[in-house]
Symmetry: C2
Subunit: 351 residues, 2 copies
Amino acid sequence: MPKKYKLPAGTIRTTSLDVAALAGVSQSAVSRAFTPGASISPTTRDKVLDAARKLNYVPNSIASSLITHRSNIVALILGDLHNPFYTHVLEAFGREVQARDRQLLVFTLNDEQETDDAIMRLLRYQVDGVILTSAQMSTQMVGMCQNRGIPLVLFNRYIPQSGTFGVRCDNAWGGRQIAEAFLRAGAKSFAMITGDPKGTTSKDRVAGFVERLIESGVSRASIRSYEGDSTYEGASDAVQRMMADPEGLPDALFGINDTMAMGAMDTLRHQFGLSIPEDIMVAGFDDIPEGARLPYQLTTVRQPINRMVRATIDHLSLDGPAQSTDLPHDLPIRGRVVWRSTVPGDPPAEV
Amino acid sequence: MPKKYKLPAGTIRTTSLDVAALAGVSQSAVSRAFTPGASISPTTRDKVLDAARKLNYVPNSIASSLITHRSNIVALILGDLHNPFYTHVLEAFGREVQARDRQLLVFTLNDEQETDDAIMRLLRYQVDGVILTSAQMSTQMVGMCQNRGIPLVLFNRYIPQSGTFGVRCDNAWGGRQIAEAFLRAGAKSFAMITGDPKGTTSKDRVAGFVERLIESGVSRASIRSYEGDSTYEGASDAVQRMMADPEGLPDALFGINDTMAMGAMDTLRHQFGLSIPEDIMVAGFDDIPEGARLPYQLTTVRQPINRMVRATIDHLSLDGPAQSTDLPHDLPIRGRVVWRSTVPGDPPAEV
């Protein structure tokens, strides 16, 4: 620490030697007590932590990161916080990363163009890993992380042929299950409210949904599609356009995320006086807790958030020497259909 | 940087000298270009950033923080992410902190007991400031931040007599306005669904609400109160208890946050078949966007989030020499009543 820095009046800085003396252990034991994954007995660790509390001592992670080249910081780039799904994702990452004695440096982005800037910024913090949940990032930025040896994992998306690791829900599989549910319930005409047209998540859900309908003899041209901007409000606007369409009301509507399905339901009921599922059946995707509430009771596909979050953190190899190249570069994890009351009848078998 | 550290094969580390040479500026100009608030012309800054991009250069904030004692990291301790209000708070802090070229280190807590541990952890990162939004923290931890000269600001709460700074919504004022709205609409019997009994937020809203009712001649004993755990589900349980109460249905129900008011509305309607406001009027607090949706149209008090967030960041004095002692230690900011359809009639004058 440079001598010229003047601490504010009354400031006390205890050193690890003081803690070692009070705890009756070596200075190296004090260091190990504060290092994630270091070998130390629980008794010794408790002695050190007790002494540290009494002396108001905390180690300086910033200084030690210059030696270890580990900052114990994991960067999380979050896109759309208006979708409650990402609130649950943030909470799960917070819990799992903190359980590994690291902290999340969170970047919230207003639009996709900011992702590259966010990565430029986070590289300054020598983070131990980067988790990207927002849609787009340039291959130049992927290259900058790779050049610097910083593990990068994409959450719920992938960049084909980029060499990056991605962990995601099996979105195409989920889309197929929703199509099958609608078909078994007797639907003959179909509409979708889609999300970000550049993101793989919306594209894959749509692809699985359409694929299954076509397998069952539905013509591609008869499957209508409305852009919903991934938001509640965007889905409400999409329903206005759908209702103005001369083709009339479809039997079944797939909101490719729950927030959009909820926006569609509220608009169909409160603005157009329609009943769900009697007049139109609706399904979503994600299984956010809000979709289970009494006014919605939304049939949907559960994303296995906890398994996805743990697989993402495993892919960062925080305690390993380097990110393993043996891991799959695209790891789709299958969720499950959650059957509620917006699609009539019984759940069909998986397809 | 210690020589013994071996970079992964293929890793390139450009230095600020390379960038200075390509940009045709001094090494000190490169440093200033990456320092928040440093004096540099926009032209020079652009030259440096262009060269940095071409060379894949990013400065090392960790190393420079040892000299400047500024990490450019602001810690945000978030409690209950299940309340969408805090998602909006996180988004606003992300936007404002990033606009000041800092980043948020986010701590998500599962319960209040973890706050002290979170502060122990964040002190290791030499953060430039701490924003605490969750309910409880010990005076010992307040003292540790003060001893280390780390600015601490409480968001939407205060710790009386602790010497800490707090920025919050004027919760008692808001509670008074809801009481007045119910009285003007003709309500004679009242109930509240309350939040965290230890937090000042719930206590102050309740105090303002009760104070105004008593001023108007309502007896304290006749104002019923049910604990709702600050959550949608807790409020639904509270409504079950309220409906089982032999005193019968009150005329008006105050959910002291919007999430609880929404949980109460859904339960009253879908489980007990009641109409709002015909059978019972309801109001909330916060003005989360979800409360404005078609099924709710909730009358509430808007928290002035953006003003509160900016005042909180100003209180951190990120660019100043030290946190000013002239600032008010408790800064309540008045919101405004948002009048929708869960309370009948017209909005009353402010009281």
